[in-house]
């Protein structure tokens, strides 16, 4: 494998990235967070391993928004494995390779074991947390995209809409400009980008 990452999901939506092994893995997780689609999202929704051995030339095209930037980032084969404990779905393990090709049976079996170990590890990290608090290791090590939620709060005031709608606007803006929602959020927080309530458009700020 070229890289791996562990993504937390809640319901059908990505919530954060516990760890990534390199920049490409990080982009793969950020893209899924921005777009709400990709191998991890499908692995959790479908409750099974999702395998794409040739991302650039897939047998069945899927993930129309996710695939082009993921390929540009350097992913040629991509695999998502659900992080489950019994019926509890925590998120997904994502693996990628910089060349196309399927997983061998051994690699597939290893990935299932790794996903199971990772699921227990996540539970372990939260198990001893104070009530209402995130586990210390998760708090420090996981990218929960807090800046995106801060920016949602700002945009909700700029546009006079709910924070939920503001997050949708941030994601749409990122998608339209082919960027990551985390990057758009950073510009909103710094004041370089503002949403205009008159026409809803994002413009360069101060």
């Amino acid at each position: 494998m070229s890289g791996a990452g562990i993504m937390l999901m809640s319901g059908d939506l990505p919530k954060g990235s516990v760890c990534t092994t390199n920049g490409v893995s990080e982009i793969i997780e950020q893209l899924q967070y921005t777009l709400g689609e990709g191998p991890c999202v499908d692995a959790v929704r479908q409750h099974r391993a999702v395998l794409e051995p040739d991302l650039a030339r897939p047998a069945t095209p899927r993930w129309v928004a996710f695939t082009p930037p993921a390929v540009r980032a350097g992913a040629r084969a991509i695999f998502g494995f659900p992080l489950d404990v019994g019926a509890v779905r925590l998120g997904a393990l994502n693996l990628y390779r910089d060349r196309p090709g399927p997983l061998t049976d051994d690699q597939h079996a290893d990935a299932l074991v790794l996903a199971s170990v990772a699921a227990r590890a996540v539970i372990g990290m939260q198990a001893d947390a104070d009530p209402g608090a995130l586990g210390a290791e998760l708090e420090v090590g996981t990218n929960f995209q807090f800046a995106v939620h801060q920016a949602s709060g700002m945009v909700s005031v700029q546009l006079g809409v709910s924070v939920g709608q503001a997050l949708v606007r941030l994601r749409a803006n990122a998608f339209a400009d082919d960027r990551l929602v985390a990057d758009v959020a950073r510009e909103v927080i710094s004041g370089r980008l503002r949403f205009d309530h008159r026409d809803g458009q994002a413009r360069s700020g101060r």
Binding site: L8, V88, F146, I189
Partner: protein
């Protein structure tokens, strides 16, 4: 159905814990009923240890057996208790020629019509969670094959129960994780709203939020949620004293 087919079906059934409506009592009832059928014995029952550490009679295939098991738990003597305490099978106990190990138990069991009692542990490695009890109305021994089958049933059921418990724990922890995360997200969203409305950076927006929560003896997440859902406006937060 052949004995072999029945055994296989029983093992598959006992191993099937991933279904959404998995129920421990259903599993134990199946285990007891199938033991009676496959081993051709009078009755089977299961005792499991409760979280507080005491053994409880969970299910019995007959009411007569239930009475004997409850007596066993009250008097704290009998093959099931010995089996649970040692983690080892306690087998081939002919109650008519009782050696005095369990005088009270033997008397009650005989009076109820049972002549022999065996118990195999519900155990995974070092963790003993209970015992599977097998009662017969004829004296004599279970065959080795019968004991192997009984232990296999007990093993599979034990794994199923432990997996189920661990999934329940994971569910609770995952719910706590989501709850904690949603609280944090509300706080970050409120910081953004306060920052934008009041012209503050994130640090000062958070200080304003925290200061107000402290002054009014409210939880941070309560104040944040009020800001986010619009029941309070950022301007109504106490100003920071400098």
């Amino acid at each position: 159905m052949s004995r072999e087919a029945l055994m296989t079906r029983t093992l598959v059934k006992l191993a099937d814990t991933l279904v959404d409506d998995f129920d421990v009592v259903d599993l134990l009832t199946t285990l007891a009923d199938r033991c009676v059928e496959v081993l051709n014995i009078a009755a089977a029952g299961i005792m499991l240890v409760a979280p507080e550490g005491e053994l409880r009679a969970m299910t019995s295939s007959s009411e007569a057996m239930r009475v004997v098991e409850l007596f066993e738990l009250q008097s704290l003597e009998g093959p099931c208790l010995d089996c649970y305490r040692t983690g080892q099978p306690v087998v081939n106990n002919d109650l008519t020629s009782d050696d005095g190990r369990w005088p009270g138990f033997a008397a009650v069991a005989l009076a109820t019509g049972f002549r022999a009692a065996d118990a195999v542990p519900m155990r995974l490695r070092r963790q003993v969670i209970g015992a599977l009890n097998l009662f017969r109305t004829e004296p004599g021994s279970l065959t080795d094959d019968d004991l192997i089958a009984a232990q296999a049933f007990a093993d599979i059921a034990t794994i199923a129960i432990l997996q189920h418990r661990s999934a329940l724990e994971a569910q609770v922890v995952n719910d706590q994780l989501n709850h904690a995360l949603n609280s944090r997200i509300a706080i970050e969203q409120a910081k953004g709203m306060i920052a934008e409305r009041e012209g503050l950076d994130m640090e000062h927006a958070f200080a304003r939020l925290r200061n107000h929560a402290r002054n009014h003896n409210e939880r941070l997440v309560t104040v944040a949620t009020a800001i986010v859902d619009g029941t309070a406006v950022p301007g109504s937060l106490d100003p920071l004293s400098h």
